[in-house]
Amino acid sequence: MIALENVTKRYGSTTVVDDVSLTFGGEGIVALIGPNGAGKSTLFSLVGRLLKPDAGTVSVDGLDVATASSPELATALAVLRQDNHVGARLTVHDLVEFGRFPHSRGRLTEVDRDHIERAIDYLELDAYRGRFLDELSGGQRQRAFIAMVLAQDTRYVLLDEPLNNLDLRHMTEIMKLLRRMADELDKRIVVVLHDINFAATYADRIVAMREGRVVADAPAAEVMDAAVLERVYDTPVDVHEIDGRPVALYYS
C-alpha cells in the first residue's frame, strides 16, 4: 500500500498539496484526475521521492519514503513521468534494460534478461528493439517507456499522463494495456488522466483533486456524476449514459 498521511507541499507561499491523506495501491487501476495545477504531478513526485513534503509522511509498503533506501524503493515502486527526454541515443533494448537497474545495478543476470524479454514481448516491441528512441513514433516511444517500467518488476506502477500527445488509437491501446497489466500481472496502477471518459472506462477507482486537496475518492461510476465533475473542474459537465456506460460531455 502507498499511504500519504497529512501531506503538505508548498512552493514558496503557494500550497500545491494541502494536507492530503490518501491510500492507494489496492488491486486494479486508480485514476487521478483534476484540473491543471491541482497538485497531481506534485503528489507523484512526493511518492517518487523527487520532492520532500513540508509536512506529513509518505510510505510504500510501510517503508517511509524519506528514510528508506532508494534502491529498495525502486524495486517496489516504478514511476513513469510526463516528459521523458533522453539526452543520449538509446535503443529500445537499452531503455528496457535500464528497468533492471534496481535489481542488477547494471550487471544483468539470466533473470534480468528474462524480464527484459518478457517486457519487450508484452509491449509487442520485438520488431523495434534495435531502433533508436528518436526514430519511433509517439505511441511506440510511450510503449518503450512502459516496457522499461514493466521490466522494473514492481508491484506499484505510477504513470503521469501517459496519454499525452497520443492519437485516439494509441490512447485506447495504452489504456487496454494498463488494464491487462492490472488484471493479468496484478500490477497496482495509479495513472493521471485528463480524459475523464478514459478514467471512467478503464479505472476501478477515481481520485479527484482540486487546489491541492482530494475532493472526491470513490468507485469510478460514482465520480462520473455531473455535480461532482463540475465541482472538480469548475466548468459545466454533462454526464449521459451511452450503451450502459457513463460518458461525460464537456465540449460545448
Binding site: 523527487l50 524503493l73 524495486t75 533522453v86 538509446l90 537499452d94 537497474f101
Partner: protein, 342 residues
Amino acid sequence: MPTDTFEVGAPEIPAPLRRGRGLRELWSQPWVRLTVLAAVIAVAVGIYLFTDVPGSLAFALRIRGLTVAAMLVVATAVGVSTVVFHTITANRILTPSIMGFDAFYVLISTIIVFFLGSQSFLTFDPLTLWLVQVGVMMTFSSALFTWLFGGRRRSVHLMLLVGIVLGVFFRSFAEWMQRMLDPLDFQVLSDAMFASLTRPDELLLTLTGALVVAGAIATVPLLRTLDVLTLGAPAAIGLGVEHRRVVLALFTIVSLMVAASTALVGPILFFGLIVANLAYSYAGSFRHAWTLPCAVGIGMLCLIGGQLVLEQVFGYGGTLSTIIEFAGGLFFLYLVLRKGAR
C-alpha cells in the same frame, strides 16, 4: 595506453546488429573502434619519441617520455572530467571550466606576480605553488557545490550559473591586475597562461598522475550508474540511484582531476568540449564504459598530434592550444554539419 586506466568488461548486450557485413559490422563494435584508436595513438607516440633525435637517444627518450606521461595525465583528466560533467549536468555543450577552474588558475598566478614580482614567481617552489593552486581550486569548487547543491535547493543549473558569473568576475579581476603589471612581469605571466606539456616537474607529475589515476579508478564502479544518469535525474532516482550522493562523488572526482592537472600544466580544459563530443560520435555506444576511454584516447591523440604538428610543421612557432583548437574545431564543425545534412 591511456585506455588501460579503465577496466572495461565486455558489453552486456552486443551493439544493435545492423545490416551490412564484415568490416562494417566489425566497425560498429565499440571495442574495435577503441582498439583502432589505441593503435593510432601508439604510432603517434612512437613517431614523437623516436624521430629527430639530435643527440643521445636515452636522454631524448627520458625527456620526451615525461612529456608523453604529462599528456596522458592531462588527456585522462580532461576526457573523464568533461564526459562525467556532461552526464551530471545533462548538457553536452559545457566543460568543467565553467566552474571557474581556469579563471582561478589565472587569478592565483596573477596575484603572485602582482604582489611578489615575476622573479619570485619563476623561482617559487613548484610544489608549494601546486599545493596552493590545487587547494584553492578544490576549496572554491566544493564551497560552490555544497552551497548550491547540498542544501535544500539542489539545483545543478543554479550552481552552473553562479559558477559562470564568478568565473567571469575572477577573469576580469585578473585582467585588471595584469593591466597594471610592468611589461616584463606581464610577459612572464602570459607564458604561464598557456598550457605547456613539455618538461613537467617530475615530482608534480607523479603527484598529479597519482590523483588522476585514483580519480579514474574511482569512476569505474560508477560507470553503470553514469549510464542511468543519461536518462535524467528524475528517471535515475526512480530507478534507485542515490542521486545526491552519486553526483557529489562524481563532482569531487571531476574537481580533483581538473584542479591537479591545471595546477600542473596550466589551463587545459579548452579542448574538453571537442574531445567529449568527438568521443560520443566515435564510440558508437552511449555507455560510459566506452565513451570515457574514447574521450581519453581522443584527448591523447589531440595532444600528441598537436605537439607533432607544432614541432614538425611550425617549428615551435605557436602554442599547442592554438593548433588543437583550430584543427579540432574545424573537424568538430565538419561533424556537426555533416550530421545536420543527413
